[in-house]
């Protein structure tokens, strides 16, 4: 994928900044105004629309991505802040088109309905499981309390994350 060709405005103005970063393991270059939010940059410049914007004021967690491995709300960062960073988005979770264990457990446990909050939920859960491979139920609830969901009532999400931890603990991929 050539990020250069994905920018819809190749005629750069002075205000545009060139940003080089790694997204889901792939180096990309694109341009953005300094005021452009990271969420908008990922969605509309890189065309990775799996990262959703649910509030744009840092309250709902739908736009959560990993920046150098840590969860971050991409609506509270500017694109220029990720110069040289490693970004992971929901599009990077599946491997060769196959759902990751976390994604599979979300499906198995009916942990999504409308699916709008799901990408942020998955990224927060992924960060949690990377830090804490065997979290208690309360640790899961605490770690994901910043991700709002209006459809599921949450309990199936907790079960899905728990089941993923259990599966990983047993080495089942």
């Amino acid at each position: 994928m050539n990020a250069e060709t994905m920018t819809d405005d190749p005629q750069l103005t002075d205000e545009q900044v060139s940003i080089t970063l790694t997204v889901n393991g792939q180096e990309m270059v694109a341009h953005a105004e300094p005021r452009m939010l990271l969420a908008d940059f990922i969605r509309h410049k890189l065309r990775l629309t799996g990262t959703h914007v649910g509030c744009a004021h840092g309250a709902c967690g739908a736009c959560t991505v990993l920046v150098d491995g840590s969860p971050a709300r991409s609506c509270l960062m500017f694109a220029v802040q990720v110069q040289g960073a490693q970004i992971s988005t929901v599009e990077g979770l599946a491997c060769d088109g196959k759902l990751s264990p976390l994604q599979e457990e979300f499906r198995n446990h009916h942990a999504l309905q409308c699916g709008f909050c799901t990408p942020g939920m998955l990224m927060s859960a992924r960060a949690l499981l990377a830090d804490s491979p065997n979290p208690t139920e309360h640790e899961i609830r605490k770690a994901l309390a910043g991700n709002l969901c209006r459809c599921t009532g949450y309990n199936n999400i907790v079960k899905a994350v728990s089941a993923t931890a259990c599966r990983q603990g047993k080495g089942i991929q």
């Binding site: 799996g50 949450y154 199936n156």
Partner: protein, 798 residues
Amino acid sequence: MNAESTMQDSANGYVGKPVPRREDERLLKGLGQYIDDIPEPSGLLYVGFLRSSHAHAVIRSIQTDAARQVKGVHAIFTGADIAAWTTPMETPVPGGKQLLRYNMAVDRVRYVGEPVAAVLADSPYEVEDALELIEVDYDSLPTVVSMEEAMQSEAPLLYDHIEGNIAFEARFAVPGTDEAFAGAAHVFADTFSSTRLSGVAMEMPGFIASFDKGHQTLSLWSTSHLPHKERWEIALALGLPERSVRIMSPDVGGSFGLKTVTRPEVVVGAALAMQLGRPIKWQQDRQEDLVLMHARDFQFRIELAVDDQGVIVAVRNTPLVNIGAYALWVTTAGLDAAGAGHHMMGPYKVPYYAYHARAILTNTAPTASYRGVAAPICTFGMESLLERAAAKLGLDEVEIRRRNLIRKEDLPYTNAVDVTHDTASHLECLERVLSRSSYFDFRKSKSGKPGADGKFRGIGLACMADHTGQGTSIARKRGQASRWPGYDGALIKIEPDGKASVHISLASQGQGHATVFAQVAADRLGLRFEDVTVHASDTASVPFGTGAGASRGAVAGGGAVIKASTRIAEKMKRIAGHILEADAKDIILKEGRAFVNGVPDLAVTIEKIAETAYMIGMGTLPEGETIGLDAMEFYDPPSSTYAMAAHIAEVSVDPGTGLVTVERYYVAHDCGRVLNPQIVDGQIVGAIVQGIGAVLMEAARYSEDGQPVATTLLDYTIPTMLDVPEIVLDHIETPSTITLGGMKGAGESGAVGVVPAIILAVKDALSAFGPSITTMPLTPSNVMRLLGVHDDAVNGGT
């Protein structure tokens, strides 16, 4: 579960099984197509709206010169421009009059947030730049924010021609109701209210409108899930024929009722696309979402008359609904008010009943019907008054419910508003939830007593019926029959390769339509689940219908799919019989094959049947049989069908902070035939948690001069993962006797029972203080007031 044993023609048996959702893989990979994910057509312009900062004012002037100079800005339009290109929305109001809603304010604004000017620019950032530079000169007018203010005799009027600010009024009484009250042994009455809510679907509304000047057709990608209603309203507003307007709903990220509304912004965007010949996009932001449309702003005066045994003699409901500054529906301003009239009796036998429902105009954001409509507050009132009656009569609070619930031997029970209960498992639901929760032990050992942690514990019970699957006849009875019908349609095609596509008139907002309707069709057609796809979002390809809402998808959509697939199955059996030289009535369709009953080897594949039906030069279609394998059918449910449930909540209340925690929750539920238990459970649990928000935390408040004060998700808080208890769910499955397939609706009932269950649990926990709880949310500061702690410094409560 008895789904398989009674589901006729369900040879494959997908119905009733927790078939994994086929929507999920795409959504989990981040490949959903929500409105803001759709690739933008070239030449697209973003639109954004300058909004009124006044609750009620006359617009003197609008200065846009500076804003027009901003880089990237193409044009700015005001209400006068839009009024020339669109027809205002007209809703009937009392006195044979009409309430007009201009799509953008022309000379007067009536709530904070009303659109005043539209900016078109290359990017949403440039739209925001320009909006900051528009100057509007207003002359303030007196405001009315609450219904009390609006109904005073000298209150300012929102519309000079609408007396008393009353936009809808309906009365109904069973003859003899007044006499029944007069002669009753006991009457209990109170006013039960909600606090105004926001819907907070995680995806916010938006659209892309594109107009083809050559064909004179409008294509509109929209977050509406009632696509045919939106098509009609847009066509009406723009003066286009319905055939020239195409509505496409992509993935819709939740609605809970608020996306049923055709927003003025959509009409403006469509008009601008027509005028400019360029695609126009709008994506609402969360601050707009929290102030532009609300829900459930109710005050219901409810009276209950019982005899000396606690048996209900009569009920009267006087509901008031604050609908804000405008009606949101072309057909009526009284969806919630009339709903309050209809939903009041719930699961109980009520011989005499009357209501007087009104919808009141105020200088606040318009309110839409929200999950549960009026039923949560009706049920809150009924359950609370029954418990008061029990206390007065020295009866057990469970026993008074048992004495009044509709029983199987009462069936068919037609209630006072002429809706018939076709099944009644209320007592089974009640007994199941009582035993699951060890209710009586809890009452004896824990209720109202401080625990080791100093917190008071309480338990609350609610019985409820939910009005679901409403067909056209009910709208007709309520005087609300309109072009928004009561039926839904399914067009099913088996393509020449033997794979089926199901086109239905209901667009999903997350309920899993692509899965459940494929289950229903695959069973009837004898196809494998993976060979059936569901399309539900494009008015150019789906039949006309009502759309998803009001707990009607499984009933109306399921019925339409059953009818259409049954017709195709009959034709396939005739063709198979012809090929196999057997009688069509001996043919069984299963797993992609047609075979003769008892002779499984005498078979033909559905691929072969499809080939025969389409490639008529190659095969042998029976004499007189028509070409192809498709059918379009509509299903109009004959009435409404009540789903039912009993809910129990266990709570703790911290007397030091007033914090209420829901610790455990139990529900026993009967929504008739269950199509997919996993999806039904998800609907019920999700609705209960939404209700926890309504009861404990959510409030879309206004200042006295009509300024909304909860404008971010930090001010308007909804439940998080930490607010949710274990929810224990039991199903009782009693198929409806009146709906095709036996289904009842499941989407809303969780949001109904949760309100009285939690509130009565808090009342139980605080029984030592004898609180009377008639409103919500039970925020810590409001609970401290119930405990007798009055702190004038606390401004957060109502």
